[in-house]
Subunit: 131 residues, 2 copies
Amino acid sequence: MFIELDLQSETPIYTQLVDQIVEGIACGALQPGEQLPPIRSLAEDLGINLHTVNKAYNLLKQEGLLQVHRKTGVIVQPGEMPGVTEAFEEKLRRQLRSLAAAAAVRGMAEEVFAQESRSVYRDIITNRGGE
Amino acid sequence: MFIELDLQSETPIYTQLVDQIVEGIACGALQPGEQLPPIRSLAEDLGINLHTVNKAYNLLKQEGLLQVHRKTGVIVQPGEMPGVTEAFEEKLRRQLRSLAAAAAVRGMAEEVFAQESRSVYRDIITNRGGE
């Protein structure tokens, strides 16, 4: 699994980790049932705290994207992925709202904002099956 | 200025404050040159820490959306708003990417994601000049 962290970023490390795992699943780089590195070894590889990896894994477990087994370790959800729940939609809209407001204030037009959203989504998906 | 905070939210208070001020500017509820409450009184009104308000105001000042004057206090940028810089576009795309990946994993189609983005943007803008 290829993870790239920006330790200078204002985005918390665990959030970057969550984002990259989710993106990996979305683009197919991480397959259902695929094993993720154990907490300790991922923390060592990335030079970050155990708790940071643990926090990211736990969040993804709570969201139903990962499963954590005592024996087999951490794997990508092998069964059905969580769908678009009402809670997810609400959170998504709240976060999009924040981005849309920032874009609108800077004079980015609705059409451009929608187009950016579309192109970013497409960009992730077209990496599916890629290297 | 109407600010509503969710103290139970996982979103930090200062971020919520930043978001709502930006949205206020985007929808026209906050006009260029308009005075914002002094740090101390806003903190008291909202029952939050001085430093939290200070952090939000400072961030918005750095982004060029607010001006902070010794004498006249905090006002909405009366001159030209910052435009869509390369740095802004990069940050926007990174944040959209995180949302798009989460949506894609849950099976939300590209079209639906783009439509959500558009509708959220429109929603903010159509509040312009509203109550």
